[in-house]
Structures are given as structure tokens and as C-alpha cells.
């Protein structure tokens, strides 16, 4: 049985994983780069080891250094969190070789699902619907043939890709070949591999994913869906469950496919099956995330499970404690991702020192974060500061509660997207649950316009500055300039006596 867990990550997810470890009575080991000596996960951990300089590839992505820390600390398991090495097949394999339990799937599962074309093929064989598309395109002739067969719009994607790089949307048949060539050259630059494939493009797509859990004994369950369509440049911003789009029948059907997809790769652990869903509720397998997702808390709240504890139980070889029929969605949960970024200036990331923070609390609010007052958010890593999760009996209550939580949430020192998120809570399309992945784009005027602060509100801002300024000069300015020189020496004496050295 696992006794000591090294968490090979940083930020909110490292703290979140350690919390569950602590509840299970496990010893936690943190690892940190030179930029992270003061990071919360190091303060939180029972033990801590330095694994290299600030850049991720020399620390959080350095497999040798992490394995060394695990051995030095005597950790018997490693939790990778999300990002960094969490979907790295070589890391999973290396842990196995070193006799350390990797809390996640096998190298085989990761690589099968990591290559999009292999994944598509595996899903097709398992009977899971996939977006009509090709394997690696051999030549321009094949690209033209497929395009004519399914019709525009189509999407060209890099086989090795992700995050929007090497992607090209083609709406007009004439653009096909030029876009095809650009995509290949981008793919080569970004991933060192110019393979691309083509898929039918879903015009008003919804991004809906299913959480799954699979144990070593062949038991697989799904924990229902998460709606992740509120995105900005392919970055999720808000997630919720249940999805406003979902019907009970569709949920059951998609859930069955999610379980089938998981079984097709002999998966073990927690994972996510992502689907793309059209407005008319046609759905297709998109990809599998072979790790914990950033948005896992909404599922935890509505289904009532601790997914990290489930991961650890599975890694311990235990059978799942729950059966599909035991699971039920209760109420509604929404997650907002709080980023250190400046929405007024094209969402440019904004590292810096957090000078003051007020965390939203109370009934139905969960806060997963890692920054504290005086902490300097480093420039080297992700701008995610925290995740705010609201629960309500109904979707309407969950939205009202999120609006209240965002109102309470205050961070000064770095710019954040809090007010941007607040505005989303007031957009009718969001309130009514009528949205797809174009939501932010479609509502950008409204979302980027400043909130009104009338004359009285402005005057209060001016007054606060002025009073602060007056009190500040009061403190440093001597009563009379001429007395200054003489009194300074006395002041020094006074200061000494106050400190009673």
C-alpha cells in the first residue's frame, strides 16, 4: 500500500493532491524549482526537494531529477497532477522500471491515446463514433478527395499537435491547398513532424467530456459529463455539470461510449473522454485525457467523490468502491478559472507580487488556489491562480452563488480575469444555457466593456487615494524642516529604545 506520495507538480493542483493525501494519512513530498522555494506546495508538503532551475524542462519536466527526489525521500508513489509529465508515457514507464507506483495509466494507454490518429483508429474499432476524417494525409490529392467527399467546412490538424498549433479551418474549397501547406509547415516547426490529418468541422460545437474511473480489475464507471464550451482561444475558462445541453437519454448513451472507449485501451485510473457535440446533439469522440483534468472539481461536487482518493485507491490495486448504478448527480456545479492576465490588454499574462487577497467563502463555494499575500507569481509557469467552484440546488442558484463569490474575490497586485468572469455570469445566453464554443467571441463586446462606476463611485476612489496620500506624507514629513537635522539623532535613539535591543 502507498505510504508516501511525491507530487511531481506545482501550483493549485499540487496543493489539492496533497490535501487528499493528508486526509488519507499519507506522507507528502513536494518538489520545487529554484523559482518555487516560497511556493505554497512546498510550505504544505511534509517533505520537499529541489529538482532544478526555474525553466520547466530543467525541473518539473526533468524525469531524472524527479526520480532522484523520489528515491531520496523514499516515496513509493508519484502523482503527476495535470500538465508537465502527467501524460508522458516515458515517465510512466520509468516509474514502473524504478519500482515506484505511477498514479496514472500505463505507458501503453498514454501513448495509444496520445497519438490522435491511433486514438481515432482504436475508437473506431471499439464502435465509438468519431468525427468523419482521415488518417495521416499522404498527399494533396488525398486531401482534395476527402474534402469533396464530406464538404466544407473542414479542419486540418497536426497529428502530433495540440493547443491550436498546426490547425487550419477551411471554409472555402479554394483555400484547401494553401491551408494544407501552411498547416504542414507549422506542424513541422512546432512538433518536428509535418504529419497532418483532416476532419469534418462541426460548426457550432459544444465541448462535452465524461469523467471515467477504471480499476485494475476491469471495472469501469463514468461520473457523468462536464460542459466545457466556454473557451477563449481553445483555453477553457468556465466548466459546469450537468451540461445545459444534456438529456438523460443522451447522457446514458454517451456515458456508455465513454466506458467503451476506456475499456478499448485497458485503461487504469482516472481519465476523461472528450466529445464534440453539435447543436443538433450529434456527438463524436474527440480525444482522451489520460490524467486528472483542471475542471475535475465540478464532478467531485455533484457526484460526491474525491477523485484524487479514487486515483490513489486504484493505484493501490483496490477495486472501485462504487458501481455505475450507485452514482447520481445532485444539484449543479460551475467552475471559473482565475488567471493572472489582463483582459483589457489582450489577456496578456501578468506575473507579479500578490499584495492583498480576499478569498470567497461560505455555503456552496469551493476555492482551490495556491497564492498568498506577499507571494510573487513567477513568470515561468501557467497563469492559473485558482479555481472557484460554486454549487447550487439548481443551475440558477449555482450561477447566483458564483456571481456572489466573484464579487467577494479580490486580488490586488496582479491583474486577473475576475471581472471578466463576473460579466459572463450576467450574459443572457449563459444564464439560459444557450452557448457553444463561440460564446466568448460572440459576446466579446459586452464582456470587454468596462463596468460602470458613476460619479459618486469615482469620487470615492479619488477620496481614498487622497486620504491615503495625506496620511502617508504625514508620516514621513517632519513637522518643521528646520528642526529635522537636530531631531534625526533623537529619532534614532527612540527607535532603538522601542526595539529594546
Amino acid at each position: 500500500m502507498i505510504r508516501k506520495v511525491l507530487v511531481a507538480n506545482r501550483g493549485e493542483i499540487a496543493v489539492r493532491v496533497m490535501r487528499s493525501c493528508r486526509e488519507l494519512g499519507l506522507i507528502t513530498v513536494g518538489v520545487y524549482s529554484e523559482a518555487d522555494r516560497k511556493a505554497m506546495h512546498i510550505r504544505y508538503a511534509d517533505e520537499a526537494y529541489l529538482i532544478g532551475p526555474a525553466p520547466s524542462r530543467e525541473s518539473y519536466l526533468n524525469i531524472d531529477n524527479i526520480i532522484e527526489a523520489a528515491k531520496k525521500s523514499g516515496a513509493d508513489a508519484i502523482h503527476p497532477g495535470y500538465g508537465f509529465l502527467s501524460e508522458n508515457a516515458a515517465f510512466s514507464e520509468r516509474c514502473k522500471q524504478e519500482g515506484i507506483i505511477f498514479i496514472g495509466p500505463s505507458a501503453h494507454s498514454i501513448s495509444t491515446m496520445g497519438d490522435k490518429i491511433t486514438a481515432r483508429q482504436t475508437m473506431t474499432n471499439a464502435g465509438v463514433p468519431v468525427v468523419p476524417g482521415t488518417e495521416k494525409i499522404r498527399d494533396e490529392q488525398q486531401a482534395l478527395e476527402f474534402a469533396h467527399q464530406v464538404g466544407v467546412p473542414i479542419m486540418i490538424k497536426a497529428s502530433a499537435g495540440g493547443g491550436g498549433k498546426g490547425m487550419r479551418l477551411v471554409k472555402d474549397m479554394d483555400d484547401l491547398l494553401p491551408s494544407f501547406r501552411t498547416a504542414k509547415s507549422e506542424a513541422l516547426n512546432a512538433f518536428g513532424d509535418d504529419s497532418v490529418y483532416i476532419e469534418k468541422y462541426i460548426e457550432s460545437p459544444h465541448h462535452i467530456e465524461f469523467q471515467i474511473l477504471a480499476d485494475r480489475h476491469g471495472n469501469v464507471i463514468h461520473l457523468f459529463e462536464r460542459e466545457c464550451s466556454i473557451q477563449r482561444r481553445h483555453q477553457k475558462v468556465i466548466e459546469e455539470t450537468p451540461s445545459p445541453l444534456m438529456t438523460p437519454e443522451l447522457r446514458e448513451e454517451m456515458g456508455k461510449f465513454a466506458v467503451a472507449a476506456t475499456k478499448a485501451v485497458n485503461y487504469e485510473g482516472a481519465g476523461t473522454i472528450e466529445f464534440i457535440v453539435s447543436d443538433s446533439l450529434e456527438y463524436y469522440f474527440l480525444e482522451m485525457n489520460t490524467r486528472l483534468q483542471v475542471e475535475h472539481p465540478v464532478t467531485e461536487r455533484v457526484v460526491g467523490v474525491d477523485l484524487v482518493k479514487e486515483q490513489i485507491n486504484i493505484a493501490n490495486g483496490l477495486p472501485l468502491a462504487m458501481k455505475q448504478e450507485d452514482l447520481k448527480q445532485t444539484g449543479h456545479a460551475i467552475q471559473c478559472r482565475i488567471y493572472a492576465e489582463d483582459p483589457d490588454h489582450n489577456f496578456i499574462p501578468h506575473p507579479g507580487v500578490v499584495t492583498h487577497i480576499t478569498v470567497p467563502l461560505g455555503l456552496g463555494v469551493r476555492y482551490d488556489g495556491y497564492v498568498y499575500e506577499g507571494y510573487e507569481i513567477p513568470m515561468h509557469y501557467d497563469p492559473l491562480i485558482s479555481k472557484l467552484i460554486s454549487w447550487g440546488k439548481t443551475r440558477a442558484e449555482s450561477i447566483a452563488r458564483m456571481r456572489r463569490a466573484l464579487y467577494e474575490y479580490k486580488i490586488t497586485g496582479v491583474k486577473t480575469n475576475i471581472k471578466f468572469l463576473e460579466k459572463i455570469m450576467d450574459v443572457p445566453d449563459f444564464i439560459e444555457g444557450r452557448y457553444n464554443t463561440h460564446f466568448i467571441e460572440n459576446n466579446s463586446d459586452r464582456l470587454l466593456s468596462p463596468k460602470l462606476c458613476g460619479t459618486e463611485c469615482e469620487d470615492m476612489a479619488i477620496i481614498a487615494c487622497f486620504i491615503d496620500y495625506l496620511d502617508k506624507i504625514e508620516k514621513v514629513q517632519p513637522q518643521k524642516f528646520t528642526e529635522e537635522f537636530a531631531s534625526t539623532w533623537k529619532d534614532f535613539g527612540r527607535k532603538r529604545s522601542v526595539l529594546r535591543l
Partner: protein, 172 residues
Amino acid sequence: MAYEIKLEHRNAQIEVLNRAGNKVVIAVDDRKYELDIVMVEKGVYSILYNGHSYNIELIEGETSKEYIVNTFARSFEAEIIDAETKYQQSRKLGTDAEGDNDISSPMPGKVVKIPVKVGDPVVSGQTLIVVEAMKMQSEFKATADRTVREILVSEGDTVNAHQVMMKLEESA
């Protein structure tokens, strides 16, 4: 003594008429406020005015006269204007064009690419320098046709917020 405060677009006249502890009578332009103002946490003020409860958060800017002010609704930049500030502003006005020719980053980051060199002519919209922070790259572009006069950083350097990285000049 009356002061002037600049709140983004607005210049307001402000004067404390009376003050006893938290209780302040204060005039902003032609409006007079009798209010209760108290610092509750460092940089956080609670103002009670006419029954309303306002919370204002301040962060000091680069000088003690500059602030970022957060109200419930939005965030402002504010500046106390005194004789010194006015003098500096008048000096600045004369050399405004020069300010535009300094390329600086609003956030700390790492210089990943400088696709130009000293002496290069650049056109409006051309990328001068690429800075990376938090896994995102930002391109800084010329806003007018200019010549690169000086490059103060190298690729791989770490820069602070507002650090000048490059200077341009009008093309000869």
C-alpha cells in the same frame, strides 16, 4: 489646501474641509461629502457615505503619488498632481515623441526573440521583440516607421515590468 487628482480621463479638484478621526468633510470638484473613512487592512479603505458602504483597494504605483484604485465596478489609475508633477508633465509633453520610441514590456518576462538589429529601419506593425511570460509569447511592434537606435536587452534576458528594452528614432 486643494489638490488636483487625475483619475484616468478626469482631473478632479479635492480639498479636505474638516477631519476628526474617521469623520471627514471633503470637497471633490463642486460636490461636498461628509463621510466616514477608515483603513481596515493595509491599502484597503472602508468608506461609509450617506448609508452606503464602499470598499476601495489601493496599490501604490511606481511613485508615492501614483495609485491603482480598485472599486467594486472597475479599476483605475490615479495620480496626485502637485507642482512637481505639473512641472514634470510639462517637460514630458515637449518630449512626448521620445516616450513613444521606447519599447518596454508591461509585465515581467523573458526575451525570446529580437528579429531586428541596431540601425535597421522598421515599418509600423513590424515585430521588434518577442517576450515570453507564463508560457505565452507577446510581440511588441513598431507603431510608426522608425529606425532601431539602441537595443538594451539580449535574447534569453529576463526583463522587469516597464523596463525599456529598445529605443527607436525617427528615420533620417
